[in-house]
């Protein structure tokens, strides 16, 4: 247990040395300025415009920053033999993995708190709390996915591409599924029929990210605390899948 917390601590120190906080603060500032500008030019519902744009842009920034940070930091650690050095001590691979995951999750938690602090000026506190809780769940899934991709691909480009593809697909899969039921689909086309079947199979292995932290929760205050429960359950299940798959890869890796 001590080893896990030690690794978590070093991961947090690395984030501080990387000036990650400054980068994220800068992105927050850009997001606020963009939202204020768009709200300023809107004729009506300016608060709604600002809140929706700010929440959507901050969610993208948070996912982007945490994914890039986890992937680049882990790839550097593998290339610099930091991983090999850590595992030369009496530390199990699982402890190393959980320590890293805990460290990155804590960074995600800090990001979410900063985002919540910005949003509190635009939406009711309870809605902000529910929204950022959901965003934290989304960031946990992305963190676990980044760790898996790093241990699977061990290269920045491949890992980032895989993570980006996953995110886009998981966020838009429900819309693609709806389109596949539309009238433009030719039921006699074998290619289209089988593509839809493949799509439905893929859907079983992806989390329903489109249900996570939509702007409407903040804008129209249309959610309650109990709506977060399925999101937490989905996060627990999917983070378990990704973590176990990541551990599977880490244990097979010949360092």
């Amino acid at each position: 247990m001590y080893a896990i917390f030690a690794i978590t601590r070093f991961t947090l120190l690395e984030a501080l040395h990387n000036r990650l906080v400054w980068l994220f603060l800068l992105l927050l500032l850009i997001g606020i300025m963009l939202a204020e500008f768009m709200g300023g030019i809107s004729i009506t519902e300016s608060l709604v415009v600002k809140t929706s744009l700010l929440s959507a842009s901050l969610r993208i920034f948070a996912v982007f920053v945490i994914s890039l940070f986890v992937i680049t930091s882990m790839v550097r650690e593998i290339n610099d033999k930091g991983l090999a050095l850590t595992l030369s001590f009496p530390v199990s691979r699982a402890s190393y993995y959980f320590g890293k995951f805990l460290g990155y999750s804590f960074i995600a938690f800090m990001m979410v708190l900063l985002i919540g602090f910005c949003l509190i000026f635009y939406a009711p506190a309870l809605q902000v709390f529910i929204w950022i809780s959901s965003l934290f769940c989304e960031l946990l899934i992305m963190t676990a996915l980044c760790l898996l991709c790093v241990f699977t691909f061990t290269q920045v480009t491949t890992a980032i591409t895989a993570v980006a593809a996953f995110y886009v697909l998981a966020r838009s899969l429900h819309a693609i599924q709806l389109m596949s039921q539309g009238p433009l689909i030719d039921p006699n086309s074998l290619v289209q029929t089988y593509s839809i079947k493949v799509l439905n199979i893929i859907a079983h292995f992806l989390p329903d990210l489109h249900r996570f932290s939509p702007s409407s929760w903040l804008v129209y205050a249309e959610t309650s605390v109990d709506q977060i429960i399925p999101i937490i359950l989905q996060t627990v299940i999917y983070v378990s899948v990704l973590t176990m798959a990541g551990l599977f890869d880490l244990y097979r890796k010949n360092l």
């Binding site: 009238p183 292995f205 989905q234 299940i237 899948v241 176990m244 599977f248 097979r252």
Partner: protein, 246 residues
């Protein structure tokens, strides 16, 4: 041995190195994920109504300096609005007031475009609703006056729709007259300029048709001898018809 080598690269350790609890947890969590997904509510298609467009200035700003590309993209989006994910809504359910606003702003972003005018005259005007058809035709007429020599063909289409679909000869004649009076450029074909003569003939306004056709022939605008002959023949037919009606 060979099978083992197939599954195991030189950078990987054997499967036996993986603790059994990891394998079990992976399988269980994967199974739970599949079951979880199975019991999630299925996506339901929702019809979204067309909302009013932002102003031209805002659309220009969000086009990142490329209003023409943005105009094309917006036109495709507007055209596909009836085919929303999972549901198809008929054009007649669209709010044509808002639709006209969208077409106007898209045309303002790219004034050389023909797409919004074609969509208005030939796509959105096909609905079985006379009031909505008139809205589209009025939009085409309104936009025609801004560049008559470049947009004449869409008003000609509008005249066709007014005559044959709406069965409104007066409206068709109004459009044909606008064509004759405003689309005077050399690139505009004579059939478009002469449309009002034939419409007048169809409406039984033989005297008016005769005067217009005679005036056209005397003005010397018709240079092609075959066309001159054809129009002279039509003038003769009009005169015969007019004489027989008395």
């Amino acid at each position: 041995m060979k099978l083992n080598a197939f599954f195991q690269s030189s950078k990987e350790r054997s499967m036996a190195s993986i603790p059994i609890w990891i394998l079990l947890a992976l399988l269980i969590s994967l199974a739970v994920q599949i079951i979880w997904h199975k019991y999630q509510p299925v996506p339901v298609a929702k019809v979204t109504q067309l909302s009013s467009p932002p102003s031209e200035a805002i659309l220009n700003a969000i086009s990142f300096g490329d209003p023409v590309a943005f105009s094309k993209l917006s036109m495709l989006w507007l055209q596909a609005h009836d085919n929303q994910p999972g549901v198809s809504i008929p054009f007649r359910q669209l709010d044509y007031e808002v639709l006209t606003q969208w077409l106007s702003v898209i045309l303002a972003l790219d004034p050389k475009a023909h797409y919004p005018l074609l969509s208005a005259a030939r796509v959105f005007a096909q609905v079985p609703d006379a009031e909505k058809q008139r809205k589209m035709l009025t939009f085409v007429e309104h936009e025609f006056y801004k560049a008559p020599n470049k947009r004449w063909q869409w008003l000609a289409h509008a005249a066709f729709v007014a005559k044959h679909r709406l069965k409104d000869q007066k409206l068709a004649l109004k459009f044909a007259k606008a064509l004759a009076d405003h689309a005077t450029g050399e690139q505009v074909p004579n059939w478009a300029k002469q449309m009002q003569i034939f419409l007048l003939e169809d409406m039984g306004e033989l005297d008016a048709a005769k005067i217009l056709l005679g005036g056209l022939l005397e003005s010397g605008q018709i240079k092609d001898p075959h066309e001159q002959q054809f129009l002279h023949q039509r003038l003769q037919e009009l005169e015969d018809k007019s004489a027989s009606s008395f």
